[in-house]
Symmetry: C2
Subunit: 376 residues, 2 copies
């Protein structure tokens, strides 16, 4: 049998935990942040730079890559790892969420979803079988089941019907699981506790290598999101990795780690970087602010990234205002480094039993951050 | 006396020559290609990468930097080198050409030029005194005189009048020359041989550290450009560096090196890279071409750049079509590496007395290149 993955919890601090996820292509320390490489590239970064900042796993997108360049092209040139020159693990999102959030037109059937490409308006179909075939062509280390994501709010009746589809599709995906590839199930059920329970029970019955929670951060209030994070976190099996999909706001991450989640992905650090919003030890700041015009200090004196070691706030502001490509590079490098460091320190805190102090400290920083609005 | 620069011709092959330009911040091997860093950044590249590919000097722009972020801001944070983290020589264009080519409205007076900023439409004034003050604030290693660039075609009478201004301004610049900064004169005179002679004689009388030829590649036919390259090349002093401004098409570079020019700058490699036109050992190719869709080979098997070592044509095409930032990075890295290698091999050819073979070989490659139009 081919080795797929092994997950071991190392330390716990309340429900928070650190762990090791061993895969054929490398070890992932959890709680782990997985930078998003939608189009077979983490925007603005090279794979070498991703390694420099300590990324152990990245995300790819079934939806995007099946449309451009096409998964069969990626298969024909040796798979996604070789295509993008990344030899560490890759987790691929199944496309369920993107079909929900990106395509203009969606027609859901029992077998899958007809949708209109956001690229050129052409019609496509993805169901569980297609999602598994695409993720096989890409050569993902971790595949995700194809799920039906519901909007918020949604009627209980519709959420139940949708969950039925998601569970049926999860079973199909499990039946099509490829040897050597890990497969994670996705918990749905909107904000309904009974449906979340039903979803988790259904997935456990099928059996997966890991369990993800989806269908959050789709418009619900933060209290609802946090309640669902706590609720699902307490019910997910403890001996498998727990992955909170698409959520990367630091306040949410802290709540989720406290609830026992192990894996995260989010475009926040990369997208914010391109918009000039940068994470620092005193909170987020907008590099546009006029006060940085002639500021020769580093963006964050407490940061060890190449951006902070080599460039001034004045220079970063100038690059941003002149829309230079280097602005997106240096900002992305910094924000991703910040996230990797944040997760590293968070793991240390869990290991040493000081996670609640860590959480309190960072919640204080975030609440008092200078803000991101442009100064005058 | 502060050491400014020393130029030594090493080898000649006909009128072509190799040389060493020693400056306080580093040695420049000539013929030299100077990548353009308009806004205090060579677009898409870090200074570390510029060093990796062997860039020994880069260009900055007086016009752009005086508008954004403002030269006094750059002075206040320690000068352009520190601002952009580049410790090798910088040559700054005086702004004469940009005022001519970029500003919507231009009003030329005896003391300088009133112009409308291409950024925000505000009115500004640059004359020789202002250009020297700006280049001093930036801390350029090589400053250029502020010149009046004429359009093509232009009446002899107007070109003569304009040349009078350019020479008067050159004298003012020389009088304001800062200790420790080299200053190059700029030859104007459009396509009129008598005016080019007059310009060169006037500049030699004033005396400069180097001599540049401007006012070409402004719309004149290639034959006229090449005739002026040969003509001015033969008249410029042989013991100083000869700089052909803004010209970097390889056919033109080959003609100019044959005519004895030593220094070049051009946005062609960087701009073409961003447009998907890539230089290779068989000529320029468009990375968009459909034939590259599933091509796992490197862009150029004869190239040693990091792009060619790590990525396939299929991947480069995909990144370009999805407009990823990494596309601009990898393409720029490749094109600049190609240029630096081209110049290195050209210097070797001059050194070994085989420049005319080198020129013939490359003219053959360029004439038979696969072309840059998109395939279907």
């Amino acid at each position: 049998m081919i080795f797929v993955m092994e997950f071991k919890v190392l330390k716990t601090d309340g429900s928070a935990r650190t762990g090791l996820l061993r895969m054929a292509r490398g070890i992932i320390h959890t709680p782990a942040f997985m930078p998003v490489g939608t189009n077979a590239t983490v925007k603005a970064m090279t794979p070498e730079e991703m390694k420099e900042i300590g990324a152990e796993i990245i995300l790819g997108n079934t939806y995007h890559l099946s449309l451009r360049p096409g998964h069969e092209i990626i298969r024909s040139v040796g798979g996604l790892h070789r295509f993008m020159n990344w030899d560490r693990p890759i987790l691929t999102d199944s496309g369920g969420f993107q079909v929900y959030s990106l395509s203009a037109l969606r027609d859901i059937e029992a077998e899958g979803v007809h949708f209109k490409s956001h690229v050129d308006g052409s019609m496509h179909f993805i169901g569980p079988a297609e999602a598994m075939a695409i993720q096989d062509a890409l050569g993902a280390d971790v595949a995700m089941v194809f799920d039906d994501c519901t909007p918020y709010p949604v009627a209980h009746e519709y959420a139940l019907e949708s969950l039925g589809r998601t569970l049926a599709w999860a079973r199909t995906c499990k039946n099509l699981k490829k040897e050597g590839q890990a497969l994670f199930g996705i918990v749905q059920g909107s904000a309904y506790r009974d449906l979340r329970i039903m979803s988790i029970e259904g997935l456990r019955e099928i059996g997966f290598d890991g369990y993800a929670v989806g269908g959050l951060s789709v418009g619900e209030p933060k209290e609802v999101m946090h309640e669902m994070i706590r609720f699902t976190g307490s019910l997910l099996p403890g001996d498998s990795p727990r992955y909170l999909m698409g959520i990367g706001d630091l306040m949410d991450v802290l709540a989720a780690v406290e609830a026992g989640f192990d894996m995260f992905d989010c475009v926040i650090p990369t997208r914010n970087a391109r918009n000039g919003t940068l994470f620092t030890s005193i909170g987020r700041i907008s590099i546009k602010r006029t006060e940085f015009k002639a500021d020769e200090g580093p963006l964050d004196p407490n940061c060890g990234c190449t951006t902070c070691k080599n460039y001034s706030r004045a220079y970063l502001r100038h690059l941003f205002l002149t829309r230079e490509i280097l602005s997106m590079r240096l900002n992305t490098m910094h924000n991703l480094y910040f996230y990797m460091e944040f997760f590293r320190k968070m793991r240390d805190a869990v290991s040493s039993g000081t996670f609640s102090e860590f959480r309190k400290k960072w919640e204080g920083v975030i609440r008092s951050e200078p803000g991101t609005e442009e100064g005058t």
